[in-house]
């Protein structure tokens, strides 16, 4: 363990599944930083929810953790091991050169359209374990069916993505990420593109995962869901952390900053106007 410990960035909390330290993200030809000095830890088995207005950098944060965008400063560590170090001047670089194997340790589900349309449900789920992890086919199929059963879609194993509803697709995308046994799962507004009546079936799956002890980072606009699932919460605005709390109940009822209060009020106004109808 010593060589791994040597890798731990200064100040990363022990026992954290994911540590982000002083992360800076900047695009080429842009003065403003999309993410500026963002630091947090996600302890193993806990759920971090990231909220904030649109354009605050929430999605970008997840994308840098997944290696989809290079970072210009700071560090990202997975289970104490540094996997990404910021390099100034890397604005135009493409995706991180991290290994295939490492990528399977961080799962990600996107807003929509990420099932492979040329594969069946089972084909989608089994592709990565077979191609990347080189696991045994029979074993992978057994696990895939088990996962499908858990999300209530066992009967759709041979369907094509276009035959499924948005909610079903997202549940399958979650299975596809889960089968790799990632240390951390990233959810980027996975219900934002769904019809309202399908949101519930997807969020129920996520709540089940939280209860099973899956470490997750969730970006969402569903405030009631956030309140129900969060162990820790971060509010981002303009690339900065405005408020950070390990007591979500408190954040949602008595936020410390004026900015967070304003932000949360926008949701309440919506609800109040609904109640009057």
């Amino acid at each position: 363990m010593t060589d791994i410990d040597a890798n731990v960035s200064a100040g990363a909390a022990k026992g954290a599944a994911l540590s982000v330290r002083n992360l800076v993200k900047q695009y080429a030809n842009a003065d403003r930083r999309v993410l500026d000095d963002v630091s947090f830890d996600v302890p193993k088995g806990r759920v971090l929810v990231v909220v904030g207005p649109s354009g605050s950098g929430k999605s970008t944060l997840l994308r840098t953790i997944a290696g989809l965008e290079p970072i210009q400063g700071g560090q990202i560590a997975l289970e104490g091991k540094v996997i990404e170090t910021g390099k100034p001047g890397s604005e135009k670089d493409g995706r991180s050169a991290r290994s295939s194997e490492l990528r399977t340790h961080i799962g990600m589900v996107f807003q929509s359209y990420d099932l492979f349309p040329n594969k069946t449900v089972l084909g989608n789920i089994m592709m990565a374990p077979l191609l990347v992890q080189k696991r045994d086919k029979a074993e992978v199929e057994r696990e895939a069916l088990e996962l499908l059963g858990k999300v209530g879609l066992a009967d759709r194993k041979d369907s094509w993505p276009h035959e499924l509803s948005g909610g079903q697709r997202q549940r399958i995308a979650i299975c596809r990420a889960l089968i790799l046994h990632p240390e951390v799962l990233l959810f980027d507004e996975i219900t934002a593109a769904l019809d309202p009546e399908m949101v519930r079936e997807v969020l129920d799956v996520v709540i089940g995962l939280a209860q099973a002890g899956q470490t997750m980072v969730i970006v969402t606009h569903e405030m009631r869901f956030a309140r129900a699932i969060a162990d820790e919460i971060i509010m981002l605005e303009d690339g900065h952390i405005v408020e950070q709390s390990t007591d979500p109940e408190r954040f949602f009822t008595e936020p410390e900053t004026e900015r967070a209060r304003q932000f949360l009020r926008t949701f309440e106004f919506e609800r109040a106007s609904h109640d009057q109808q």
Binding site: A66, G67, L68, R95, S100, E101, L102, R103, T104, I106, G107, M108, F110, S112, Y113, D114, F116, P117, N118, M127, A128, L131, V132, Q133, W160, P161, H162, R176, A177, L180
Partner: protein, 218 residues
């Protein structure tokens, strides 16, 4: 009025002509597919100098008529010491013309694959090669098929121009018979029927292929 005996007598000419039409078109189309694939590959991989050459080629090929390309190959090139048979000129001409159209169709297919598909492949740990062969290409093919099918039909029709460099295709037969016997009706009817017999099935197969590869409709 309509002379059936003329049709009976000269139908074999059209069969012969269609053999020539098919021969030139099929090889020309295969050549066009190869050229198109190379061009699309060069553009996809962003190969430095080759990329500019491909751009220039595509512009020239798309903005000049096949007939002029053929005349240049058949009558012009021999003055530079390059003497090709009419068949070779016709095939090279079709390949030169069709290559750019095929390249565009293939590029359109590639561009139709959403970025999130590549991102998903990356996050799932696929190597770049796996991402291209397992995720991007299968979808790109489905996006490119309608364009490729349209180009096949287009090139097949364009092949009618090779009669201008004295290749005895269907078109040439029709012109010949009209010129020799003045049996205009019968010759034109046989001309139309010849093209319909070949192009209708191609167009039906094309529609079937489009369905077969359309993942959103299958």
């Amino acid at each position: 009025m309509f002379d059936w005996s003329f049709v009976q007598r000269y139908a074999p000419f059209f069969v012969k002509g269609m053999e020539m039409t098919l021969f030139i078109s099929v090889i020309g189309i295969v050549l066009a597919l190869v050229v198109g694939l190379i061009c699309a590959g060069v553009e996809l991989a962003k190969v430095p100098v080759a990329r500019q050459i491909v751009r220039v080629y595509i512009e020239i090929s798309r903005n000049t008529p096949l007939l002029v390309q053929l005349y240049f190959l058949f009558f012009g090139l021999p003055k530079l010491g390059v003497v090709w048979s009419a068949e070779t000129c016709a095939i090279v001409g079709l390949g030169f013309l069709g290559g750019s159209y095929m390249a565009e169709a293939m590029r359109a297919g590639l561009q139709a694959v959403p970025e999130v598909q590549r991102e998903t492949a990356y996050v799932l740990g696929f190597t770049p090669l796996q991402s291209i062969t397992r995720v991007v290409l299968p979808q790109a093919v489905s996006g490119a098929i309608p364009g490729i099918v349209a180009n096949v039909i287009f090139l097949f029709k364009e092949s009618s121009v090779v009669s201008a460099i004295a290749l005895a295709d269907v078109m040439y037969m029709a012109k010949d018979l009209i010129g020799m016997y003045y049996n205009t009706y019968e010759s034109l009817a046989m001309l139309i029927v010849s093209y319909l017999i070949v192009l209708l099935p191609i167009s039906l197969i094309g529609t079937w292929l489009e369905r077969r590869f359309d993942y959103a409709r299958r």
